[in-house]
Subunit: 334 residues, 2 copies
């Protein structure tokens, strides 16, 4: 586990409890308050009390609608006049297309040519226009910047944006509003929007809650960044967790350096078998980018992998897991 | 649609609002209050506001734990002394095994040899003892009766039992407690425990709510019974909806004759494509015996298939669907 907690404040973000509450008020009429489910058989495997925030059941099938709708609904009319543009491996693209349709403005989505078909169909179903690019982070960003310059569209970055981070933080806010004494929260980490939002959303409500990111071994830039104390990037990755192929930005890295309690690396095999177990035991379809957040707890040590202090009430640790999305081609479940 | 509503009272059951409330109090500490989910894209297809009560997310993966736990927890110590026995195509067996384990008594489950492997594993995982029989209703019942005679175990019939029906009725009670102005409820129908419980649970709270059963064309005994006014039985069926191969009893038939608004027949193809659509759009795994309850609304006429009067508020009809279970071999999703 990589961890390099700093005591310096994270100056690269304006996201605080107030911004998160404002985001929540803004988006609540439009999104689902997703259920928090439990599973006795997964509790037994992990040796903990697990709580699952089901953002796979969220509108557009992932948490991404939280940040995207917060960003798009807070644009001024002038900012929104030429529509929006973004680059995304899929779920953020669908979320931007959906939130743009609520606002009645066009959305242009730059996607890597190897994005799953189910995610492309989703963007189109919300009326978004897809523009394919090479499967490299730099290609995505360059094409999105060009479109922004040409069209005057507002850029809705998938994570390097305080409005996005404040929106993603609302999932942790809802989580702690319902299960107030969670010991720790686990989320996937890719660009760091959900993980940094979860740190801010959770710790602004309860400073002593632990927050961990789960990252594919094959896309371990956040792990290396935290370990070395310097932002590490990654041009591409072939992890099955197609939503986790992006790298941290300076903004999300700064937040994580200050607030995250650790990054846990997960193998491809662990990601796949976790998705299968969730389908079998919980009857829920989660995408590989999402099953990763339960995977570490399925190891022989169970919750021991997190090295957390015992609870004062002597009960098993209470661990919250954000199931971030469910957009997977069904063939992938085999 | 078959319907033969009688004005005579249903004398074969003692299940009333009070019995249902008592059942609810008895089982609530042990079961999940399952979430009620919505899906904009399914609303669009059906032309209605759909609400899905997710009993696939219930303990043991189906609503059957409601009736089984009500029956087993209300046994006297003397009645429970020699354990319990039942016959079941799967979900009721797992539920009986689970509730018996809560009570610390043995459970013997007679299952047809062609029951899905996932359902056999579930029974075993709760410590139940499986006894296989021929895939005929008469074989199941004969073997269970023999075991009852030999062991003195208490028979927990899957549906021909007021304690079971009262337990199953609690799903509709929870449904109307949360969505009080539903126009109609749809459930699968097999032996009629869930459907008769839903009629009693829903109509004891709001007399004017409509209740429909959905039944495989290939196992249409309830449809024929309602149509002819005489109980029709069925020795076996090869429908993919493995939980819907049983026939009504005199008790459930009497309740349905009085209270159900109709039975809709569904083809095998409709059952399968409904399960796929639910997985894709809702990220939920529902078994074929469960997807059948949404299938009629996916036809070109949408909710029009139910011939319901329009709502007084001019809004789209509000239809509640009970997703009864999620225990399916994952290969079945392909």
């Amino acid at each position: 586990m990589a961890s390099s907690k700093q005591t310096t404040s994270h100056k690269l973000t304006s996201v605080d409890a107030r911004a998160i509450a404002e985001a929540h008020n803004r988006i609540q009429p439009h999104i689902h308050r997703t259920p928090i489910l439990t599973s006795q058989s997964l509790n037994t495997i992990a040796g903990a009390q697990l709580f699952f925030k089901c953002e796979n059941l969220q509108k557009t099938g992932s948490f991404k609608i939280r940040g995207a709708s917060n960003a798009i609904l807070s644009l001024t009319d002038r900012e929104a006049a030429n529509g929006v543009v973004t680059h995304s491996s899929g779920n953020h693209g669908a979320a931007v297309a959906c939130a743009a349709s609520w606002r009645g403005i066009p959305a242009r989505i730059v996607m890597p040519h190897n994005a799953p078909a189910v995610k492309c169909r989703a963007v189109e179903s919300y009326g978004g226009e897809i523009l394919f690019c090479e499967a490299k982070v730099s290609s995505r960003m360059a094409m999105a910047a060009r479109i922004q310059a040409e069209t005057g569209a507002a850029m809705i970055h998938p994570y390097d944006d305080d409005r996005i981070i404040a929106g993603q933080a609302t999932a942790a806010k809802e989580f702690l509003e319902e299960i107030s004494d969670l010991d720790a929260l686990l989320t996937p980490v890719s660009g760091g929007g959900l993980l940094s939002g979860t740190c801010l959303g959770a710790k602004s409500l309860r400073e002593d809650v632990h927050v961990f990111g789960c990252e594919p071994e094959r896309a371990d830039d956040a792990y290396r960044s935290l370990k070395t104390g310097e932002l590490q990037t990654m041009e591409s990755s072939d992890t099955i967790a197609d939503g986790l192929r992006a790298s941290l930005s300076q903004r999300t890295f700064a937040i994580l350096r200050t607030l995250v309690d650790g990054i846990v690396l997960v193998t491809e095999e662990e990601i796949i078998s976790a998705a299968r177990l969730v389908a079998e035991r919980m009857k829920l379809i989660v995408e590989p980018s999402s099953s990763i957040a339960i995977a570490p707890l399925l190891r022989p040590k169970g919750v021991g992998v997190l090295n957390l202090p015992a609870r004062k009430d002597g009960k098993p640790l209470k661990i919250g897991i954000i199931f971030s999305g469910g957009n997977v081609d069904l063939a992938g479940l085999r």
